[in-house]
Subunit: 430 residues, 2 copies
């Protein structure tokens, strides 16, 4: 039986044209983030399954690709549940591995530690357009800085990456988990219902306020609380300065530093940003992951109606590994979304070098072959890219394929006369 | 219970110092290989388990990390063997996925197709020094060229990478599976014993000829055949031109094109190589993978007694996916070995940019913070790397850590006087 030609369900081969764009974007990301002092690190793609299933990842924990135990550890006849069969899992994000990394290496790392990670993650989600089961994430995180400088640094660096790739006029929407909590308190939602309230509020952009209200009612929340929440959101919309108005309403329900922190972020980012984007307070922003504890943010491309990344503060996760909390904040670029947008917009990478295809007649003598290879070596030293090969039987099709791929064709024949006409050694003409 | 801080068994976190070296080497690899017209592609890290267990990978098939089926597909109560539980596996090399990729996309690709792949592979091997269960491979392959030009191109490109990283005076050892077969025929080894003969011969560098002879005898091969093999190897060693002498002995047992092909490779590589290395015929070279059909080669660092990569011709693998054979040849750099050697030699990367750590007093006003951020932005525009943060309580330790990491420290205080003394905005001095 012939082997299977297609990638496994929901994952994809990356073809040359897309690879070029990916490699270009990755180089801009690395250049920009390292200029901000973020330090590249890498962790294994697999983690201990207990680390992955520790209730940090919310819904993502249901989507883990699990790795079968090996050798004597696998006791198939004694296994009662699937968790008896597995010891490792594929990471579903880069944040849980980062916290493990930090816990493992903090003695060797500067404080605060600014990490840059670019790597694949895996989620066994239902495959759909533009969403794959293996996808790349690009995260920057600052561990050990509880001040607003962490948020400011992350937002400036990430928006500079987007600007350098060519995006403009997007929004960074920002909110605070503690504002969400104060709003819930203000409206009389019970403490123990906060997590499920957030999960429902997170659907706002898909099902609207009416849909959210209906769902909250179905979940058994009091009608007065829901109405009060709607009134609060309406009030923010109607006020000249929605943020200030909301802060006034919430008053003592808010921890003391929330307003100052948010004000500092708005002022510093507004004054120093190098890319044309809008920082917008969005009281409906929730973010899926349950590990967030403070500021949360999201990249919104309003024209396209999609989010291209996000992040926030998660001050309680490192403590799960070390036993004592360390403040942490991160921003993740939705790499695959960015690439999809660039590919769809017919993005062209600024390239400098010439691409040459040297096509040689098939019965070329070894002496002449050597001469042509030397010519190719010299062109490469000049910074050109040289694809060296023999002519196929169907030379016309071969040339069409190569021209389509951006190559300039140079032909080499076995007789001196033809060489002079068709393909004089090209470095001599430069 | 606290979560686990260490990576899973046999895999490793990559710390900043090593990351720098890895990223540098990767950039040299990409620059060099693309200058030869190799085109970057990527495939998913998981493949259908049936593709991975199709007897292409020899011993590596025993080392596959297998991925548990999910949802309804997993029928734990009906499973009899472990293969009933899994549908995917982690790739153990980049060659099997490449052939699947080629089979899936050949209509869109130039002929011959020159592929560059850099990616992780996984093998559940016994962990040992310098050998990990997740490791990076860098492969170039040429699919669709049956001529010696493929071998020549691969050897020139790979040795140029090694030269540009700083390696010299190494050897590329070369042999041919068809020469090995002719030698076996010459000595009277039976056809059906050839695979197991090769597996034993492959141990030559570990157990020596005596060990190999003893093992072959234990496997039941005729003493005359073994003696004859030893005499043949001795003869090669004693002859002035061992290759020519062996070819004479083997005579008609060799397919007609073997000698010409090898001669062409030696002449063209010898004349055009840009790195100082020796191409050496090695009749004891076997290579583990059972998929090789012709030329095989290996990078040997004689001073270090280790191999840093290898490859060869595998003309029968694409046919397993498409039903018709397409010639193919590849060369894989042992990325992890190269990195290990560089790290152990205290390799320093040529860097151009200045690394600055801006340390700010903790109660800095937002206005002054904004000013410092703007200073950092300008330094970044100049190509500097700026790590911006507040002073820790233990400022001395913080500075030591940062200086160790290569940063030049610039301090900012909240009063104008101190600023002028300790940390005048640095771009003004440039």
């Amino acid at each position: 039986m012939a082997l299977k030609k297609t990638p496994v369900n929901g994952m994809k081969d990356i073809e040359p044209e897309e690879m070029d764009v990916r490699m270009y974007v990755e180089s801009v990301i690395i250049d920009t983030y390292t200029s901000y002092g973020f330090i590249p690190i890498e962790t294994p793609c697999m983690e201990d399954i207990r680390n992955l299933m520790s209730k940090q990842g919310g819904e993502n924990e249901k989507l883990i690709f699990k790795v079968l135990k090996r050798g004597e550890k696998l006791k198939l006849d004694q296994a009662e549940t699937e968790n008896d069969l597995v010891d490792y899992g594929m990471r579903y994000d880069l944040t849980v591995p980062l916290c493990r990394y930090y816990a493992n290496h903090s003695a060797d790392l500067p404080t605060p530690f600014k990490a840059l990670q670019i790597g694949n993650v895996w989620r066994a989600d239902r495959p759909q357009r533009g969403r794959y089961r293996q996808f790349k994430q690009c995260d920057i995180d600052i561990i050990g800085d509880g001040t607003a400088l962490a948020e400011i640094d992350l937002i400036l660096a990430t928006t500079e990456v987007l600007g350098r790739i060519g995006f403009a006029d997007f929004e960074i929407r920002i909110n605070e988990r503690r504002i969400l909590k104060a709003m819930a308190d203000y409206c009389g939602f019970p403490d123990e219902g906060f997590d499920s309230l957030c999960i429902t509020l997170d659907k706002m952009d898909k099902i609207g306020m009416d849909g959210v209200a209906a769902e909250l009612q179905k979940e058994g929340f009091a009608k007065e609380s829901i109405d009060s929440y709607i009134t609060l959101l309406d009030g923010i919309g109607l006020a000249e300065d929605g943020f200030a108005w909301l802060m006034e309403q919430l008053g003592d329900l808010l921890p003391a530093d929330v307003i100052d922190r948010m004000a500092e972020i708005f002022e510093a980012v507004g004054e120093t940003k190098k890319t044309n984007f809008e920082l917008v307070f969005d009281p409906t922003l929730v973010r899926g992951m349950s590990y967030y504890t403070g500021t949360i943010f999201e990249i919104a491309m309003p024209d396209l109606g999609i989010s291209c990344g996000g992040g926030g503060r998660y001050d309680k996760m490192v403590g799960q590994f070390t036993g004592h909390d360390v403040p942490a904040c991160g921003f993740s670029i939705g790499f695959e979304r960015i690439i999809m947008l660039l590919m769809e917009s017919g993005f062209h990478i600024p390239t400098e070098h010439v691409k040459l295809a040297y096509l040689m007649e098939r019965d070329l003598s070894v002496t002449l072959l050597t001469e042509v290879i030397e010519s190719a070596q010299k062109a490469r030293e000049n910074g050109d890219e040289v694809y060296l090969t023999y002519m196929n039987k169907n030379k016309k099709f071969q040339k069409e394929q190569l021209e389509k791929a951006g190559y300039e064709i140079v032909e080499f024949y076995n007789t001196l006369d033809q060489r002079q006409v068709k393909g004089d050694l090209p470095w001599q003409n430069r």
